[in-house]
């Protein structure tokens, strides 16, 4: 089991090294950076939904919370290291409290969806109504609808004047995603991750085995929120402004669409779904023949109808069907297919 994890790590390092080298030749790094950040956000929901069975309609809440935490802390502290850490911790703690409230109350599926959606709405409405001068945290004005611009962006730890931006920032984000990916892989291979999958499959059975489902779901929920928070902080640094739109329902919707299109129950799916759709949106912005909302909606409907498992699992089975039957080099292929399956979780 440890063997396959180390193989996972090596594979991840290789693939991400190649991608980090090749991708900037095709897409501008500034755009790539945000694709990477969205990938991380997709992964955060992919983890809790695809592996833990928790459908959260408000993953954007943690994303926004991470971004706001970073912005507010950065204005007050003027150095980016502590704000980055806070941006991971605050959403995680918030999610732990929210999760505890929901899971210890035995709320499931639709009700869970309503609560997460409502909490996101509350945050959205609250952030939108903080335009007045009375909403201040330390030195940071909350800014309401207009958000918070002009905070200290990422710097080399300990040196507030050495900003990390441009291409360097892309490498930071890409490496951060690779690290998060490896950590998620390790988590899923650990007993905790396996039990989480068990919970997704059959909550009652896992409880009857003696596992505390409530605590484990809460913990997984918090881990997902921590990743989303990190993505939020990276996003804040990238955009150099945070606005309440980060909390909006459409943002939450997009994260769910990424996961569905990419493929649930895989680690790569949500990342690819996020990056792919965000890039599609970026490309669509350069034409104005067809309304872009319409296209996004159509994509979601078609996927739910015809490819409900998402692209990555579908490709994986296609791979198996088309290569698995070949007599020549079959063993080799099978091994590769297996690797791929492992890669996909």
């Amino acid at each position: 089991m440890t063997g396959s994890l180390s193989r996972d790590v090596i594979l991840t390092i290789l693939v991400s090294a190649i991608l980090i080298w090749i991708m900037p030749l095709m897409i501008a790094t500034y755009t790539l950076t945000v694709l990477v950040i969205y990938g991380m956000l997709g992964l955060s929901l992919g983890l809790i939904w695809g592996f833990g069975g928790i459908l959260c309609f408000g993953q954007a809440a943690f994303f926004g919370l991470g971004a706001y935490t970073y912005a507010i802390a950065a204005i007050n502290i003027g150095e980016s290291t502590v704000p980055m850490i806070l941006a991971v911790l605050v959403p995680a703690v918030f999610a732990a409290l929210l999760g505890a409230m929901m899971f210890y109350g035995r709320l499931t599926d639709v009700y869970l969806g309503v609560i997460t959606l409502v909490v996101t709405l509350i945050l959205f409405k609250f952030m939108n109504s903080t335009a007045g001068p009375q909403y201040v945290i330390g030195k940071a004005r909350m800014g309401g609808f207009n958000g918070i611009p002009g905070f200290q962006t990422l710097n080399v730890p300990g040196d507030p004047s050495a900003f990390i931006w441009g291409d360097a920032y892309f490498y930071v984000c890409a490496v951060a995603l690779a690290i998060v990916f490896v950590l998620v892989s390790a988590l899923l291979r650990s007993s905790f991750g396996r039990v989480a999958v068990g919970i997704r499959e059959n909550e009652t059975r896992i409880a009857l085995m003696g596992y505390d489902v409530r605590a484990r779901k809460t913990a997984l929920f918090a881990v997902g929120a921590a990743i989303a928070g990190l993505a939020g902080a990276l996003f804040a640094n990238w955009g150099e402004i945070v606005t309440p739109n980060l909390f909006s329902l459409s943002q939450s919707a997009e994260i769910i669409i990424w996961c569905i299109v990419g493929g649930l129950g895989t680690r790569l799916g949500p990342i690819l779904g996020a990056a792919g759709l965000a890039y599609l949106k970026f490309l669509l912005g350069q034409q104005s023949m067809i309304d872009n909302t319409l296209i996004m909606g159509l994509i979601l409907v078609l996927f739910v109808l015809f490819l409900p498992r998402g692209i990555v699992p579908a490709l994986a089975s296609l791979w198996r069907i088309s290569f698995g039957r070949r007599p020549l080099g079959r063993i080799h292929q099978v091994r590769r297919t297996r690797n791929r399956e492992r890669l996909n979780g």
Binding site: R194, V197, G198, R205, A207, L208, M209, Y211, V213
Partner: protein, 238 residues
């Protein structure tokens, strides 16, 4: 006399105006095997759910090896070393046999030992050929066997089984009986069951439920011969 591992005192469960379990006093000793029988709606399943923590009784107490577990959650009860199997197969369909059993073993043993115990259990249950198949693809009997395996792998001292033989072929039932006998060497077992054939083949002591209350409690042969029991239960069925 062996120690008492499960005891209920005046256990009562009401749903609205209906009393599903009525003042049940029940005792089970270590390594005892007890069958609960009774017609539909007699309260055996309600009793089972109250004991396993799936429902909280309206009145009365439940004790397990001296702990009062009345208001405990199922996972707390299971953590004591109590194995529970529900009526319908409750397994993880998209995981394979090994993973299913491993998850149960992992709760009580470190990762490596859990793997070893899982392999052993798979051998014992003769599931080796399908160890890597997902549960969703298996036949009903195989699924029941896997579930029993994941109850047994945790080395419980008390096992609660709700209709383990339901819907199984004669061959499967025989194999099931063997497994339960094996389990019974180390654990006390409570079986809620309909199938009289199965009960005859396995049980000694039997508790008969009727209208939520315990009608009688005795050796299986005497219970079968009892006219009152025949009247409320067997008579209807035969």
């Amino acid at each position: 006399m062996a120690e008492i591992v499960l005891e209920t005192q005046a256990l009562t469960m009401r749903f609205g105006g209906v009393t599903a379990a009525d003042n049940v006093n029940f005792k089970l000793r270590a390594r005892e095997l007890r069958c609960l029988i009774g017609p539909n709606g007699a309260g055996k399943s309600t009793f089972f759910k109250c004991v396993t923590g799936l429902q909280t009784p309206t009145e009365g107490q439940v004790f397990m090896r001296g702990h009062e577990t009345t208001h405990w959650m199922p996972h707390q009860i299971a953590s004591l070393g109590v194995g529970i199997k529900m009526q319908t197969p409750s397994v993880m369909d998209n995981l394979n046999v090994f993973e299913n059993i491993w998850l149960a073993a992992r709760r009580f043993y470190p990762s490596d030992e859990a793997g070893r115990k899982t392999t052993e259990m798979i051998e014992r249950l003769a599931l080796g050929s399908i160890a890597r198949s997902n549960l969703g693809q298996l036949a009903h009997g195989e699924r029941q066997r896997v579930e029993l395996g994941l109850v047994a792998v945790a080395d419980p001292w008390l096992v609660l089984l709700d209709e383990p033989a339901a819907g199984m072929s004669a061959e499967d039932v025989d194999r099931m009986t063997d497994i339960i006998r094996e389990l019974n060497k180390t654990a006390a077992i409570v079986i809620v069951e309909h199938d009289m054939q199965f009960i005859r083949s396995i049980a000694e002591q039997v508790t008969v439920f009727h209208q939520g209350a315990v009608l009688m409690e005795d050796h299986v042969d005497r219970v079968m011969a009892d006219p009152q029991v025949r009247n409320v239960y067997l008579g209807k069925k035969a």
